[in-house]
């Protein structure tokens, strides 16, 4: 049963991943990404990580890809891009090198460490798996107990990022009055 579920969701995930890279239309690529994310959520459920599965759907599929689609639609780049122009010099050879390096690292991990793939070594140690508690309870205890400081720091970082983004978008227009009104109205909308 578990193997069958794994096989089906693996096919879905891989098909989605290929679709993201292969499709020329950005909106289609984003939809393939959703397919991959939902497939991974199924794998989470298969491993009894129900909370992670829910978060995967709520956060990644429900917020992040929606944001992608939003930007794609608002900027109107939903047609296939001209592929012959290279915006940054040397981008493609560099991408090939980085891709090959990533493939090499992943290949090494798969070949050398079977234990790494089954997750025997993990950040929280094995004690996170002790007891009958649900995964949400265990994650809550680890995140808000042991790693509470890291969580707080991340929260502060995100707040700083949001405030910074707002300040940056508004500062450029302060020197010029006419643009400010436009920015303010855009902010309202």
């Amino acid at each position: 049963m578990a193997e069958a579920v794994f096989a089906v969701s693996a096919v879905i995930i891989l098909a989605g991943a290929i679709g993201v890279v292969a499709s020329r239309n950005p909106v289609h690529a984003a939809l393939f990404l959703v397919q991959t994310l939902v497939g991974v959520a199924v794998l989470f459920v298969l491993n009894d990580a129900h909370f992670l599965a829910a978060v995967q759907v709520v956060v990644y599929a429900g917020a992040i890809v929606i944001l992608f689609l939003f930007v794609i639609m608002l900027l109107g780049v939903d047609k296939a891009e001209e592929l012959r122009i290279e915006p940054i010099f040397g981008q493609r050879p560099l991408a090939a090198v980085v891709g090959a390096a990533l493939a090499a690292v992943l290949g090494t991990v798969v070949i050398t460490g079977a234990d790494v793939l089954t997750g025997l070594r993990r950040a929280g140690g094995d004690r996170a798996l002790d007891g009958d508690a649900t995964d949400i309870e265990r994650m809550g205890r680890v995140l808000f107990g042991e790693f509470a400081f890291a969580v707080e720091i991340t929260a502060a970082l995100l707040t700083v990022a949001v405030v910074g983004a707002v300040v940056l978008t508004r500062r450029s227009s302060r020197s010029d009055g006419s643009e400010t009104a436009g920015a303010a109205r855009a902010g309202d909308a």
Binding site: V5, L46, A54, V58, G62, I66, M73, S178, A181
Partner: protein
Amino acid sequence: MSGTLVLAADPMLAGDIGLVEVVLTLAKVVVAFAFLLVAVMLMIWFERKLLGGMHQRFGPTIAGPFGILQTLADGTKLFFKEDLVPDRSDRFVFKLAPYLSLIPAFLAFAIVPLGGDFNNGGQVEWWGRTTYLQVADPPIGILLFLAMSSVAVYGVMLAGWSSGSKYPLLGSVRASAQMVSYEAALGLAVASIVLVTGGLSTHDMVVAQAAEGYFGIVPRWNVIVTGLVPFIVFMIAGTAELNRPPFDLVEAEQELVGGFHTEYSSIRFALFFLAEFMNTITMSAVIVTLFFGGPAGPVLVSEVGGVGIAWAWGVVWFFLKLFVLLFCFVWMRATLPRFRYDQLMDLGWKALIPVALGWFLFLTALEVGRERGWNEAAVTIVSLLVFAGAALLLVRAVRSGRRARDREAARADEPSDPVEERA
């Protein structure tokens, strides 16, 4: 990879799964689906009839007694209409979008407990199997509802985009911005319920609310336990999430022709329409579960002719509560005028989210105080003072932001150098 798949807390699915379990589960799915479809049909009629009454007119009267078959007639008509796919549309996505709207609406309904005698744990025994009267009770419980409401955004968003025309795109951008914004408030209101319940399972939520209430007559519903505020936030955010009036800017016909489904016709339009009403019913059912004790209620007659019917009272109470909420949704639609877009965003981000977050922290403080044995009155007063202080700060921040914006806008309106302005 673990070999055992834990799909639900339902006791029926804990042991071996044989034919009876599969048949029972299938029966539950079919009954729930059939119920939803019939409920949608009746809800559309009910809404039109009630709106008619509130507008001093009749509403549907021709088809069947009291016009009750009007929806059936409309649906049949839609089936036989020509199914148009616009020339400039993205054909596959255009055809996919209605289903993306419809399916989450049904899936979210699966976690709603529909009946059962919750004075005795809410379980029923059929054919020697102990089970719950709900399609599924997954470990993530209410999170499934939140996940489905975030997936439902895709239907609206892709419908507008794939139509390949302007007004639907504008409508869908509005809709998705609105739905994403209000999801946050919705989630925070749910968090308050999860806090007082101590778990995500909808079944456990109803069990907790079925416990002994206050003064013998006031039930222990979460709407009282959490102090009304999360309920109000959830109700408003839920209405916005449904894109129902007064939050129906998505299909503001004066501005957008018809919103994201302008280009849809025939059966595909019917699917959107169905999804909208299905979502309304699902949302009401979830509100009943979260805040009004779901099927929990007194058992008046426990047996008829030797057959135990205690579980049926749960169904009765559930439907009564559902009916009241659906009435409220129609009532709001008939009463309130549509919001302006900036008012909508202001309400969501500057009022609902801060209030929901503040109230959630207040409830947390109470819970922690109870656990540590602090003086409850002191905790309440101190937290409310902090709450008021934060609210004051927020109001001041919003005001000074608005003033700065007005100043900048005023400066922009009076051009200092007309030549530069033209350049």
